[in-house]
């Protein structure tokens, strides 16, 4: 730190993009290739900078102080007799620091060369008022006859009044079942399951219909007080007996 510009360097903390950037600026002050730099000198300069900043009561961001602590450690490790057990060795740490500085420096220089190029809109210009190219899109509409007919079917189905016709099926009506259950009840003395009230030989959908109708008939007759119902639990056999 023996240059006239040092004062700004000491004070203008906002100008540095972090401790590595500051180290790089200090390193470049050594005016040698970064590969030949004296890490020890660099550490001294950095620590001196941080101390001066403290004397001036400048607030240093924490990462500058962390770097200062690490560099102080590096300095002592480089100066003290080497402990062969210690890894990484201080030389390795110093070399890594130098490699990082080289990389940052390379990118800084690349950035400077990049922005100094002939840039579009600053140094070279495109045509300001191009006629422009036009793509005229012409739609060729596609539809198939099936789509058309199906669409009409859809509309018709949607808007036409719908009449529901229930196909004729073999069923036992409720009236029939009431008639049948009340007649049979008169002939039974003991509790009988509801299945014994169904017509003999009934099967398939007709049996299901007869069972459902007979059940509703049993409920209706119970309401009229003409039958008693008994069932131990849900889904257990349902017994019927005429009221006494």
């Amino acid at each position: 730190m023996n240059e006239a510009g040092d004062d700004t360097l000491k004070i203008d903390i906002d100008g540095w993009e972090g401790p590595l950037d500051l180290l790089l600026a200090l390193a470049r002050n050594q005016k040698v290739d970064l590969r030949a730099i004296s890490i020890l000198d660099l550490v001294e300069q950095y620590l001196a900078f941080v101390n001066q900043a403290r004397e001036l009561r400048l607030e240093l961001a924490a990462d500058y102080l962390v770097m200062a602590a690490w560099l102080a450690y590096l300095k002592s490790a480089l100066l003290l007799p080497r402990n062969p057990e210690e890894t990484p060795s201080p030389e390795e740490l110093a070399l890594r620091l130098q490699l990082r500085l080289e990389r940052l420096n390379a990118m800084r220089e690349a950035g400077a060369r990049l922005v100094a190029r002939d840039r579009l809109g600053r140094d070279v210009f495109l045509r300001a008022a191009p006629e422009g190219l036009r793509v005229v899109r012409q739609a060729r509409w596609e539809a198939e006859i099936y789509d058309l007919i199906a669409a009409y079917g859809r509309i018709s189905a949607r808007t036409r009044p719908v009449m529901h016709v229930v196909a004729m099926r073999d069923v036992m009506t409720l009236e029939e079942a009431i008639e049948r259950v009340s007649t049979l009840l008169g002939t039974r003395i003991e509790w009988s399951t509801i299945e014994t009230f169904l017509p003999e030989g009934a099967s398939g959908p007709y049996r299901k219909s007869a069972l459902a109708s007979s059940f509703v008939a049993a409920l209706e007759l119970a309401k009229q007080g003409r039958v008693e119902l008994r069932q131990k639990s849900a889904f257990a056999p349902l017994y019927l007996k005429a009221s006494t």
């Binding site: 045509r127 300001a128 006629e131 060729r140 539809a143 009409y152 509309i155 018709s156 719908v162």
Partner: protein, 193 residues
Amino acid sequence: MIPAPDDLSRAVEAVLFAAEHPLSIEELRAHVGQDADVRGALTALEALYAGRGIELARRGDRWHFQTAADLAHLLRRDREESRKLSRAGIETLAIIAYHEPVTRAEIEAIRGVQISKGTIDVLMEAGWVRPAGRREVPGRPLTYATTAGFLSHFGLASRRDLPGIDDLKAAGLLDPVDLAFETMESETVTEDE
């Protein structure tokens, strides 16, 4: 300082190229130098560009570059894109085909859904539907009918070839099973163009 002729024509060329509007000789001079022989440079450029894809053109007392007039067709490119008719489009077309001539209000009554402005436009653009005179009722609404292009696109000899309601029923196209689903869909889906 007067630039050498060739440098000057390069300069005028670049300034004209980058300009936002045609430039007068005075405007050009403001860029390339007050004492420059801009007129001479323009003449040189005119000759240089003659017969090329770009030409130097004079509009009144202003100059600019433009593409050669005979190449204008290259700047415009037509691209035909095949597009599928939307559901609203196909339904509207079906109603027009089955009920023509039919007004917009009638189409909406049959569909049970409003149709957007663009739907009939698309059908007319496709060349399948045409205005077919006005109905002599209050408001004199326009009616629509199908075209010969419609018949040929769908491979029909005449509108009588369209299957009737009974045919549709026989083909299962009036299947009520779909009804609830269809209704639901047409209510959820907002009218597409």
